[in-house]
Symmetry: none
Subunit: 224 residues, 2 copies
Amino acid sequence: MSIKIAIVDDKFVNRNIIKNKLLAYGHFEIVLMAENGSDFLQKMKTLNPKERPDVALIDLEMPELDGVDTIAAATTLYPNIKYVVLTIFDDEDKIFKAIKAGAFGYLLKDENAENIGDMLWQMHESGAGPISPGIAHKILQLIQNNKLTILKKDTVTEKILFELTDRETEILKLLVKGLAYKEIGQELGISPNTAKKHVINVYQKLHVNSRVQALHLAQEKGLL
Amino acid sequence: MSIKIAIVDDKFVNRNIIKNKLLAYGHFEIVLMAENGSDFLQKMKTLNPKERPDVALIDLEMPELDGVDTIAAATTLYPNIKYVVLTIFDDEDKIFKAIKAGAFGYLLKDENAENIGDMLWQMHESGAGPISPGIAHKILQLIQNNKLTILKKDTVTEKILFELTDRETEILKLLVKGLAYKEIGQELGISPNTAKKHVINVYQKLHVNSRVQALHLAQEKGLL
DNA sequence: CTGCAAGTAATCCAAATGGATAATATATTT
DNA sequence: AAATATATTATCCATTTGGATTACTTGCAG
């Protein structure tokens, strides 16, 4: 099974270079090419779930919708795709923003051909996001220089305040992800009517009456 | 010119495995072996500056003086040496502490022989600290989960992801609180129609199409 | 065996939502 | 003066949501 790749870069030459590198490497299949974030999101809409890429290689500086915003939006719309930055920029600010936006990896374009293929393949094998050595090094420096600091997170008190059933908790999780009745039904293999019934039961137990309120509560009380 | 290496590990077998791996790789010369931090510092004193290692590979869990403390002490005594953690531990806490202590790289022992040699050699060539992919990945996760945060006082903190106008940001805040068009209108003293218009504009800028998705994005990327 | 809780499913209906489009006012910029 | 960005209001319309109610099945506790 080959890995389905999307390439998002505003320069035609870049798109082609990357494409050829990956095709030459084998194991990869290019399923989508876009010249900016808007174009990418647009084209994604036209794909049915089976055709969607596994990995999206995204440049940072692009017109219309830049890489960071693209990743931020795309991670909520298509959370299963691995978004990997592929760019020439290696300044702290861009690195940090891209990661916060949800980048799974960060590769520099000056990596040689095999390296990029290797790292993407490695990602697929190990599940670890690919990061160019120079980038990893910069992040270490940030930590050492106290520009990055760790926040102590207190214990996760698993309190079951509201007595949601297993099924209802499951429903709540999907609800929080933004799914409609229809989609929840599909996801769980039940009728959308049933999904709706569950949702409304959840509302009653949480004493809310809308999705956003439910999400708010779930977030605050950490019951997800 | 070969790279002079020190190996600090409490297990005899480990020391030998590493030694043999590196010798087989070539380019490396083992100038010091120690079984814990105290032992390492002790032996370092006996070396004159020309004989000192370029790189010290240090295990973390050791008796007498553990890896973190060893690195912390050694970086002040011999700041020119690159201290690279070589261990089996990959938990956040150890990683973070080691880096803060001054580790220049962090490698996992389960890397295969060539990889460790490669990465050390690469470090020598590029000047970037060697980091195992899995470790880099963990650090990225930490940043993404807001467990690591950037501290900057000098730079203008523009967390203005997506170019929302002031009004739109205001609207988004209310949206996130679960208010309906009507309520948003009341809150801001505008028509519910206007509120709705703003909401839809926000959706378009965020590339989402529902409240929950917008909330999801706002929450994750911290644009509120 | 019986009853109750949980899960499933459907229907009716009012209200809210999202999308598209158009129009006006008010600043600010060029 | 003209162009641009922002904020405001409105209407049409299809879809979705929330709410109430009824009903069937299954598994488990009394």
